[in-house]
Amino acid sequence: MRITNKMMSQNFLHNLDRNKLYLGKIQDRLASGKILNRPSDDPVAVSRVMSLRTSIEEMEQFDRNMRDAASWLEASEAAMSNLTEVLQRARELAVYGAGGTLSDTAKEAIAKEVNELVKQAVQIANAVHGDSYIFGGTYTTKPPFELTEDEDRVLYKGDQAELRYEVSPGVYMPVNSSGKGFGLQVEGGEYTAKVFQTLIELRDRLRNGLESEISDILGDIDLVIDDVLSERATLGARINRMDYALDRNATVQLEYTKLISRLEDTDFARAMIDYSVQEATYQAALRTGAQLLQPTLLDFLK
């Protein structure tokens, strides 16, 4: 085969271009830290990375949902805990009032304190988390519990809907305790709550009742306290469930992130070796090319 000068220089340039192309590719990998920069780099890996990313982003959202659910539940739980304290104080006062040795003025003073406890309980029941009232069901923009003018009843304006958060695909967690702990009941076409009505009843009996009537109500107060405690337990269990699920999610996310990294991140040790091998080839090509292209027969003729 005849080998012409043009062939030699063309082949040389072609190979040099190829070397530079590989060098450029390896450099890209090193500089960007990624081996996948466009779909054609590895279509299968790219679609896996995309779907893993989507899963992670979805999971992160569920994480946020769970954390928000937990904080909503914690707010409810805190309110219930405060309510328990209020009820326990009311129980102490009831025991004291049922003692039988108290004067009417002393009873009236106790009744006043109980009245304050009613107001405090309403305030607790109108607890706010963020911008929302937490005990009104979907009635979140206005206070759901309202003490009537004559301080005779506490009316419930909310509904009994569950507020659900999606915490994993298709799994919904109710985050609110819509009045269950308050013992909602219908009275004359209006919603009232046993918690407040019991306190109001205690106040009224202190004002004008007999000792025996006051001691009768202790049983009711205990029942109400039980209701609140059991609602607290439910809320606590849900908070635990969220914490557990968050932990589990974190583990899965870590696995997914590792998988993505394995698919799309540059293996630096390997890339560095590739780079030095390619660079050596490139320099060798330059050196031989420089020597090969230079001489012709003319150089050796006198």
Binding site: R2, M7, Q10, R38, P39, S40, F62, L163, Y165
Partner: protein, 512 residues
């Protein structure tokens, strides 16, 4: 001695002339060592016409006496078969280059995997509905839903517009290609004419033929032409006129683009969009840049290397998303009340409208028209986050519809017979997997084009090397030839001097 001194001098002169001519050819080769399309030339030396010489001791004569050397022809060294191979393979190379070029640009439109592509906008969109399901009464969260939806719709429109831009680019490239082809055709026709006249005169128009071959090489890069030599009957004999015909496949069979029978020796191509025709017959291409442009530019919903395929996918996705989401959105309740104090139902969440705001008919729904309903853009209270069963009371904290829309992320879908997305519990698609799938298809198509370009490059490179091996100028070879001719020239000059001395001997030596 027979033949005479002057006969000998004549041999010497012919030799001087022949070596000098060969030297000139060498000079021409060296001068054109780097000229594109040049094939090396050789001066063919032949022995001169021998003459019979009478002699005393052989009654039939002394036999033939050579009359020195002659240059019979100067011809170019070239292998037409390799030319034919190169034209076929480089046509395929240019086709795939054009396809790869376009797909590469499409890939930039869908720059995945990334944190900024359509994929992550989709995630943001669904996540914003999740947020809304937690805080349905919050206007800042409602605004987030609006903003992520606006960004998503914009990404759909932008991607679609970019694809249309690439298509326009194809159109311009086709225009340039057709103009170039037409220019080549007229040049080839002109060269045909010149070559014929020189050929008829008995000479080899080597340089003109090189020029024509170079032009035909360029033409073969554009389309799959067939080149054939023209023969004519002269005095009962078939001889090559030196002309060529260039033909192309059309809807009406093979048609000559260049040929001696055509008026002006050639025809012009006409373009309408990506369709190219000659004299009303549509070109049916199979290789070349023009074919590559057609492959990527012609509308096809099945060919993953056509841009239209990806436009169609975007349309299907936009339509499916808008229709399924709107359906649910309309079943929900907004935070707005009508005159009779009833909560208003949700309207369309996404709308298809043109830039002037005119709504588009449903059969023309396309990703390029996707917008968030302007009513919602103006007032996020019109997002329907709540949903109640009939008779149920509605309050602003109701988030059932937002939950329903957020769960569309994992809705099972399939393609119906018209290729549109439909809800299907047994389907294996989701909105996001549909997108991921066609990005993967794009990746495969681009990779395939890339591989074809690489393979064809290697193949063409090898063929070009073979062509160079035959037709290329080797400086070493030319220098060696030069020395050969120089020595022969020197010897011939020396020979003439010796003959001169001989004649001196006769003229001057016999005087005394």
């Amino acid at each position: 001695m027979s033949g005479g001194i002057f006969f000998g001098i004549n041999i010497g002169v012919k030799s001087l002339r022949a070596q000098q001519l060969a030297m000139n050819v060498t000079g021409h080769n060296i001068a054109n060592a780097n000229t594109p399309g040049y094939s090396r030339q050789v001066a063919n030396m032949e022995t001169g016409f021998a003459v019979p010489v009478p002699s005393n001791n052989r009654w039939r004569g002394a036999g033939q006496l050579g009359t020195g050397v002659e240059i019979s022809e100067v011809r170019r060294i070239r292998d037409q078969f390799i030319d034919w191979q190169i034209r076929a393979e480089s046509g395929v190379l240019e086709e795939w280059k054009a396809r790869h070029d376009a797909l590469n640009q499409v890939e930039v439109v869908f720059m995945e995997p990334s944190d900024t592509g359509l994929s992550s906008l989709f995630s943001d969109f669904w996540n914003s509905w999740q947020e809304l399901s937690k805080f349905p009464e919050s206007s800042s969260v409602r605004t987030t839903v609006k903003e992520t939806a606006v960004a998503l719709a914009e990404a759909f429109r932008y991607s679609y517009a970019r694809l249309e831009n690439i298509e326009e680019g194809l159109d311009r490239k086709m225009e340039i290609a057709v103009n170039e082809a037409n220019s080549i055709l007229s040049q080839v026709a002109a060269l045909n004419e010149q070559i014929k006249y020189i050929k008829v005169g008995g000479d080899n128009p080597n340089d003109l033929m090189d020029k024509r071959d170079l032009l035909l090489d360029s033409l073969a890069n554009l389309m799959d032409i067939e080149v054939k030599p023209v023969f004519a009957q002269v005095a009962g004999k078939t001889i090559a006129t030196g002309e060529v015909t260039v033909s192309i496949n059309t809807s009406d069979g093979r048609i000559n683009l260049v040929g001696p029978d055509l008026p002006g020796g050639h025809q012009q191509l006409e373009r309408s969009g990506l369709e190219v025709s000659v004299g009303g017959s549509l070109l049916e291409l199979n290789a070349g840049e023009m074919y590559g442009l057609q492959k990527t530019g012609f509308s096809s919903v099945t060919d993953t290397s056509s841009i239209n395929y990806y436009k169609n996918k975007l349309d299907v996705l936009a339509k499916g998303l808008a229709e399924i989401l709107n359906d649910i959105h309309q079943g929900g309740l907004t935070l707005k009340k009508d005159e009779s104090d009833n909560w208003i139902n949700g309207g369309d969440f996404f709308v298809f409208r043109d830039a002037e705001g005119n709504l588009i008919a449903s059969e023309d729904f396309s990703a390029k028209y996707l917008y968030v309903n302007p009513v919602i853009e103006a007032d996020v209270g019109y997002i329907a986050a709540g949903r109640v069963e009939s008779g149920e009371e509605f309050n602003p904290g109701n988030r059932e519809n937002a939950l329903l829309i957020a769960s569309l992320r994992n809705l099972r879908l399939s393609l119906d017979s018209d290729g549109n997305l439909q809800q299907d519990a047994a389907g294996d698609l989701k909105f996001e997997t549909f997108y991921q799938n066609f990005v993967a298809e794009l990746g495969v198509a681009t990779r395939e084009a890339e591989r074809m370009v690489e393979n064809q490059k290697t193949l063409v490179g090898q063929l070009v090397n073979r062509k160079e091996a035959v037709a290329g100028v080797s400086i070493d070879e030319e220098v060696a030839n030069m020395i050969r001719f120089q020595h022969a020239f020197q010897a011939a000059a020396r020979y003439i001097r010796v003959l001169d001395e001989l004649s001196q001997t006769i003229v001057n030596g016999l005087k005394a």
